[in-house]
Symmetry: C2
Subunit: 421 residues, 2 copies
């Protein structure tokens, strides 16, 4: 025995953690991801940007674009990232007052529907003008439809503006257009597979997706509080937070299995627990977990964007054209609920970031062979620009709104509705 | 589109999380593991047992033995379980006063060495008497050597006795015999591969393994506090806990890469941070994470034991014979430091549980073809019995010690040293 044989190390860890990734390699990966996310997140805050911008940038730097250390397709990393986004939306749900959310429900629904329709139509039109066939143009248009709930909610939360009318409308609209986005994804998947979608099928999927949210909120209001009262009475405090996490996981899985999204189920779990007396205890427990897992999600989103593909002039041109209609479409949607007194510019800008949902559309198209690598890269550029442009713009708008209150502004504006400390 | 196609769900989750395990399946698995661990953990406490007994039992029930829902070899589950044991030992290190630990260092070292030598020799002897060849007998003997730091530390912590002289001796001895166990594993791996281990090689591995712990503690005392002072000054409170987690991961990986164990590195990280002013902040953050991850580790340990293999009469006989010498050997080791005034029975019983380390030896032997399935199963029985017998015995001993103080007992006994609330 001259030195520790490498096979021994593998034995000590009992089994490789992933396809060829040892526990040691994975712990090192997590350490690097967390350091990069925290350092760049703190730096972003130093220059007045939300921390999420730094975390996304950490992902781009660590990902295949630059250093090539983080492979976002690594199954175990993907898993922890998904736990991160589930925790994020669960936490957002816990902080959300359902009554307040429903009071802006009409506005949120309007913003969501217009914010899906407009970018889709503009996207298909631009893509066709640029010479794409109909099917790729539809996939490209579809990739412009869904706002990233994660990024939007995180930015409003980072800036302490989640409880404003604007924050609630954007949150509601982003959740709704995630549900719509999944319906569109189902239609697009059918088209890509060569099947004609039926009106009946679309209607059923739509009913199930929206029905899930309603059913969970209705049933959950009656079932969950007594169950958690029992847990609180018999168990210790940390058991309560763990059981809340279990509820979030279960509703996420349930949502996904009926054709909605993991994050919609996690958000619903938060909404159901929010009015219970245990919400503060649960939130304290979840926040610690979220501090570790949520940055992993944003780093993974950043790492999924490969900036090396932006080398071609054509990719950049198509990409910027799609980016332009992606921004214009969502921005215009912010002004759709004409009857609401709110900062429409803030709503429109809040809907801009596409993030992970846009990437999923692009990947679907690429994997199915409908999109060529050029169009795929153009969509990645769209995701990158919309994701990075919105946080600083939002911050600017919110700071200006703050400044304007000091010199007197009419009631009902963003600042008056702020309930956060 | 008649219903949500199953391929679509896979697309929505972007990639399968593991070899064929989707994010949804994994979240469901985590939910089931956490529910079972918390319910059985609470029940165990109700009948006066440490929670860890319930968690291990949850693992046996969910594992291949009974229900067959939890596959402990699933890479992603194994990973989270390893994060769990790293967090556990990091937390234990954070609560440990190095001075106090070193003050019982001689006793701990004696318990560790005797507690390795005695069970090894007794194990080889019994195995030979029962007709095993020399090499399988050596592997079986080696599997009896290492106390499970995780189970031992958890039980003393659950019972609020980690800060007693007995708790510190057992903790120190368990960490030291983990290091010795890895050296033995290296020797055994060489033997199994048909290589004769050299005295020089063994000496070098031993020096590296113990040198690591010394070097980390020495260097860490100077380097870590200033680094964390900077983090505390520039970052937010939760960044501090995340960076502490990063340190634990990095030292765990470093320990493993020099031939020591992940958990030894994690424990060292805790020891280094324990005397800093940030220890309470870090501990609060880590406890929340540990509440979720640590039960996953114990469920995975429980699930790794397959009780179905205990059907054969020969397996049970060999298993019980090995169990007997495993218990006697460690129990006797508790009395080795004759000069120390402490409850030796408590120390001896505290060293009994073998847990995951014994399983790793057994798996190494089985994979290499040195152990047949019968001997492997016998070792599993030894692990199961020693793991489940120690917690209730410890609890009984500690309760009796408590009762005896009330009628007057000499100073220096277990109760007087209790510093925990």
């Amino acid at each position: 025995m001259t030195s520790m044989p490498s096979t021994l190390l593998a034995v000590v860890s009992a089994a490789p953690a992933d396809n060829g990734v040892s526990v040691e390699q994975f712990l090192l990966l997590l350490a690097v991801v967390l350091i990069a996310a925290k350092v760049l997140g703190e730096l972003a805050e130093r220059i007045g940007q939300p921390a999420v911008v730094g975390e996304l940038l950490a992902g781009v730097l660590l990902g295949p674009s630059v250093i090539g250390y983080v492979d976002p397709t690594l199954p175990s990393l993907h898993l922890l990232a998904q736990i991160g986004v589930v925790l994020l939306l669960f936490g957002i749900g816990l902080e959300t007052d359902l009554k307040k959310l429903l009071s802006v429900g009409g506005a949120a629904f309007t913003v969501a529907v217009v914010g899906v329709a407009l970018p889709f139509m503009l996207g298909v039109w631009v893509a066709r003008e640029l010479g794409l066939d109909l099917l790729p143009a539809i996939v490209a248009g579809a990739a412009l439809t869904a706002t990233s709930v994660g990024i939007t909610a995180r930015v409003f939360s980072d800036l302490g503006r989640l409880q404003t009318v604007e924050g609630q409308i954007v949150l509601g609209a982003a959740v709704i257009d995630d549900v719509i986005g999944l319906i569109i994804l189902a239609i697009v998947s059918d088209l890509v597979a060569g099947n004609a979608p039926s009106a009946l099928g679309v209607g059923r999927t739509t009913a199930v997706a929206f029905g899930f949210l309603g059913a969970v909120l209705l049933v959950g209001r009656f079932v969950v509080p007594p169950v958690f009262a029992v847990v609180a009475r018999t168990g210790r405090q940390h058991t309560l937070a763990t059981m809340a996490l279990v509820l979030a996981f279960l509703l996420a899985v349930l949502a996904s299995s009926v054709g909605s999204a993991l994050i919609v189920g996690a958000f619903a779990a938060g909404l159901v627990l929010a009015p219970t007396e245990h919400a503060p205890t649960i939130e304290r427990g979840i926040v610690r977990l979220a501090n570790v897992f949520v940055p992993i999600f944003f780093v993974a989103v950043g790492a999924a964007v490969d900036v090396r593909t932006f080398g071609s002039r054509e990719v950049v041109m198509v990409g910027l054209a799609l980016t332009a209609v992606a921004i214009v479409g969502k921005f215009a949607a912010g002004f759709a609920p004409v009857w609401v007194r709110a900062n429409k510019t803030l709503i429109g800008v809040g809907m801009i970031p596409r993030g992970e949902v846009g990437l999923i559309f692009a990947q679907t198209g690429l994997t199915a062979g409908v999109l060529n690598v050029g169009t795929y890269s153009a969509l990645m550029l769209m995701v990158l620009v919309t994701t990075f442009i919105a946080p600083p713009l939002l911050r600017l708008l919110i700071t200006r709104a703050h400044a304007s209150t000091r010199i007197g502004v009419e009631p009902g504006s963003v600042v008056d509705m702020t309930t956060e400390a």
